[in-house]
Symmetry: C2
Subunit: 347 residues, 2 copies
């Protein structure tokens, strides 16, 4: 029965009906009413529908805020992000939001422009007594993560290090990814292998570069040249233009992420008229959706981010249950995705 | 002074220090302590630093949850989204999160997979007594938006209609955008103008298509053909392949959004070997960052989403102050962004 066209009940700021009232009107048990309003609890669609209709008619609204004071759990997870506009992070936030919802937790989202803003934002975040925190940004200070841990709020760092070793970490093996690229370029006989960096201070960038450099050295080769970047299309474009303008050019470029690689490809093609991969091989990192677009067909190192998000949520749930357990350090291997932007065999 | 290397104070679940204790230790006024922990309140960096250090030493944490019960305001805004992985929505969520933070509000993020999930998610969202709700998804039922409004929680629909007219709306003039495209294609003498749709039921798609069709009719022309889509690269690719495979081909395609247009361009170039814009003109909608990439250089209709987000936050803030004020319907004009994917003058 659709009663929603009836005149709307007036808004009553005070709780006007009890769980028992709702159960009686819906002709279900009080436990069924409780389950309907408990995140993650099991209840049949039919029962839920009955409860919601009765709750609607009675204007019943359980008060999560008051309840959270009693059970000392808000069922809110704070998620801190610095680069939500990047395709990689947008997808990650979505997976976190959906994954946490499936566990009965909501996502309170904090977007930090830079590290100086962290000092203003996180103390206020703590006021909401979140049950846990995920920090997805690559360049957040470990000190602040430790401040959260000190208050007894579990923190999981997503794809970055805790230099102190006091917080949980879930990350991709970025170093191994760099080594995969070194081997692939050398196997194909590339001679002048360059690197376009991500943000200099980030552990992700440092590990990818170190993996490449040490992978080359392990086979008696050297990094030919490198250029600065910041994990953006624009920086990749600019860095590639700089690398390609000299009399001698790189024949292969490893880019710190896919956006950088796409920028580098566009510069190579549209500024220098180069063919990819005939004149220049490009490999990225992440495997964002755009990497698969025909315009790029980007060979890349895939971060297994679905697994990383699942692992992060699992670590967080376990830490909420057992706050005294020692920090987890989960490292998940990346994989090599072959498309058409890199020559991978000897000519 | 950096005291963070001292042994960490033990976690005390109960409030162990008062605002007065913190003020005394920091040698500031109690009002300064209060302002430091009030979102949006003004306090100098120096004072904030003193207060935070004292608060850290005393393990002082003001309890936002308890405070929200007293002042009946959680300073949390629920933001509902269906397509966070799309570049357009990722940027919008970021702007909302940052814009709301600047007003002293936090973002509780709800990701809805489809409309059936709404019934399970939103009743629980209401439990958190959010101060307001923004619904950014294009295809959420008006009925559910009305349910929020009924509880006295202001709701702003972002870029969609309220068929009931009971909720606030901030949107782009999608119809006007469609008309801009019709005029641009006709001015250049295009003969066979096609449309690749977004999600069929969405008002954004319907308005863009209607703008195109009526813009053509107003000048005695007709829509040559249209194909179904769903606001994705893959659908754009597939739809373009379908439009282009016949003996007679469109010479211009308007795509319901930029992702669709990029997919259509890739299909035209890499499946059919067509040159853009010599053989085919393509225009998109949104102006996502990828539209400016050299690979696409996509001519498009820009949604003024910074203005739209600002207007949405303003409407929300006013509605929180004056819940009884009549619904606002703000329509913001789009603009035509000329790049190189469409021939715009007579040959």
């Amino acid at each position: 029965v659709d009663n929603h066209d009836d005149p709307l009940p007036k808004y009553t700021p005070l709780q006007s009906a009890s769980q028992i009232d709702v159960a009686r009107l819906a002709r279900v048990s009080q436990a069924a009413v409780s389950r309907t309003f408990t995140p993650g609890a099991s209840v049949s669609d039919e029962t839920r529908q009955k409860v919601l209709e009765a709750a609607y008619k009675l204007n019943y609204r359980p008060n999560a805020i008051a309840r959270s004071l009693i059970r000392k759990s808000t069922r809110i997870i704070g998620v801190v992000v610095m680069r939500l506009t990047k395709p990689f992070y947008a997808r990650i936030i979505r997976e976190f939001t959906r994954g946490l919802q499936a566990h009965g937790y909501w996502t309170l989202l904090f977007d930090i422009a830079d590290e100086t803003e962290v000092n203003q934002t996180l103390p206020m975040a703590l006021q909401y007594q979140v049950d846990g925190v995920v920090i997805t940004s690559a360049t957040l200070s470990s000190k602040l993560a430790d401040e959260f841990a000190r208050t007894g709020t579990p923190v999981v760092l997503f794809n970055r290090y805790a230099s102190t070793g006091k917080t949980h970490v879930v990350r991709c093996d970025n170093y191994a990814g760099g080594r995969l690229v070194a081997d692939a370029f050398l196997d194909a006989g590339h001679q002048r292998i360059a690197y376009i960096a991500g943000e200099e201070g980030s552990s992700t960038n440092q590990d990818r570069q170190r993996g490449l450099v040490e992978g080359l050295q392990a086979r008696g080769a050297q990094l030919w040249q490198s250029a600065a970047g910041d994990y953006s299309y624009e920086a990749g474009y600019k860095a590639a233009a700089q690398l390609l303008q000299g009399p001698e050019r790189p024949d292969a470029i490893f880019c710190a992420d896919d956006l950088t690689a796409i920028g580098a490809m566009d510069a190579a093609r549209y500024e220098f008229g180069l063919r990819i991969p005939e004149d220049l091989s490009v490999i990225g990192f992440d495997d964002i959706p755009m990497a698969a677009w025909s315009a790029f067909s980007l060979t890349t190192i895939r971060q297994p981010f679905d697994d990383m998000v699942k692992a992060t949520i699992q670590v967080l749930m376990e830490a909420i249950e057992a706050p005294e357990a020692p920090p987890v350090n989960a490292v998940i291997p990346p994989s090599f995705i072959t498309r058409r932007s890199a020559r991978l065999s000897q000519e």
